[in-house]
């Protein structure tokens, strides 16, 4: 069932068929009762395929952007399934670091936190490092989340980590994104309390671990 849904969803993205994509999403979520599966098994591989198609010049950058925009709008439509009525007392501030534009992955992570009743302050793409820290100071979250897709942005990522640690030496930071597929782990190990989460399943496990450790 997943392969068929994946193909149809990808086709809808490439055609800019938001209505068709939305219908597939709603049907999938109703039959699987789990948005995370839809994110992990349908949206994520579809967008990876879209990226690959751009790489091989099968589609244009406009088509790639359209596919991403349609995916995000469908994720927004599913929001009633995301917000949990059982609220937890925890907050996370998360987003892409400065110059980083790929925000769909971290948006999924934000939604997973919301599904667990957290208040997730999702900052989206390309938040300047100084503004990110100002916002952390304002919100006083229990957790910070940083997303990085492009390896070239590692120096900026490291700068942000250092500045966050200067002011918040103990606050846990979760990180993720395609930049960590082949590297960056040494950099993470060099800093205190930074946790790499590679997918939604690891994110959920971490949430449960965090809540057990910080029971209120």
């Amino acid at each position: 069932m997943d392969n068929n849904d994946k193909e149809k969803f990808l086709e809808a993205l490439l055609k800019g068929d938001r209505k068709g994509g939305s219908a597939i999403a709603k049907k999938y979520v109703e039959s699987h009762s789990d948005i995370k599966n839809f994110y992990e098994n349908i949206i994520k591989p579809s967008l990876y395929k879209v990226g690959e198609m751009w790489e091989y010049n099968i589609i244009s950058v406009a088509a790639e952007h359209l596919a991403t925009a349609v995916s995000e709008s469908i994720m927004n439509e599913l929001y009633e399934h995301v917000i949990s009525e059982n609220r937890s007392p925890y907050k996370i501030v998360l987003g892409c670091i400065e110059k980083e534009q790929h925000q769909v992955g971290v948006k999924m992570i934000a939604d997973v936190f919301e599904m667990h009743g957290w208040d997730a302050f999702f900052l989206g793409a390309n938040t300047p490092n100084a503004d990110f820290i100002d916002y952390i100071r304002e919100i006083e979250p229990d957790l910070i989340g940083l997303s990085l897709s492009i390896y070239s942005h590692m120096p900026s990522f490291e700068e942000l980590i250092k500045n966050v640690r200067n002011e918040f030496p103990n606050k846990p930071i979760i990180v993720g994104g395609q930049a960590f597929t082949h590297g960056g782990e040494e950099l993470i190990r060099a800093h205190y309390n930074i946790i790499l989460l590679r997918n939604l399943s690891e994110t959920e496990q971490y949430i449960k671990h965090f809540e057990d450790e910080h029971k209120r």
């Binding site: 490439l14 790489e55 091989y56 390896y151 590692m154 120096p155 590297g183 960056g184 040494e186």
Partner: protein, 161 residues
């Protein structure tokens, strides 16, 4: 040698490049805007630039590539990772070869980068960075071969009706 072994060999030879100091990274990073500007001017002044870039439509993409190259190399100078280096270069070759950039483009580009780095960075840091550019230059045929193999394979795989 099969594709997987060719890639492993690239990673192994990349690991022989000496790690870089923070001082080298900082000077390179600081000078990126002026280096990219110099590189663009030199490349655009070439008589054969349209042949190298594939078409006039690709000139803006080429300029983006020059900027992306500089920021990527800076990240490699800061946190050297042989696998990331090889994977990223292969991705660049695939993306740009798919759009008809000529394999000679990289030879021309990297030669010009050497000139620009020598002009803008200290002698000491230039000498530290040169082995990385040597390695990239020597392996252009390997990058071209590996990327072309994948491009041909994927052209038939992805068809949109």
């Amino acid at each position: 040698m099969n594709t997987k072994d060719k890639k492993i060999r690239l990673i192994q030879t990349a690991k022989e490049i000496q790690p870089f100091t923070n001082e080298t990274f900082e000077e390179y990073q600081l000078k990126i805007p002026e280096m990219v500007n110099s590189l663009n001017q030199l490349m655009l002044n070439r008589d054969d630039i349209l042949e190298l870039a594939g078409s006039s439509k690709n000139i803006e993409m080429m300029k983006d590539n020059h900027s992306n190259h500089a920021y990527f190399i800076a990240s490699i100078l800061k946190n050297f990772d042989a696998e990331v280096l090889v994977d990223t270069i292969l991705w660049v070759f695939r993306a740009y070869r798919s759009r008809q950039f000529h394999p000679n483009y990289w030879a021309a580009q990297l030669n010009t980068w050497r000139k620009v780095i020598k002009e803008h960075l200290s002698t000491e840091n230039t000498q530290k960075i040169v082995p990385l550019y040597n390695w990239m230059q020597i392996n252009i045929p390997a990058f071209t071969e590996l990327s072309d193999e994948k491009i041909l394979k994927n052209k038939s795989k992805h068809k949109i009706n």
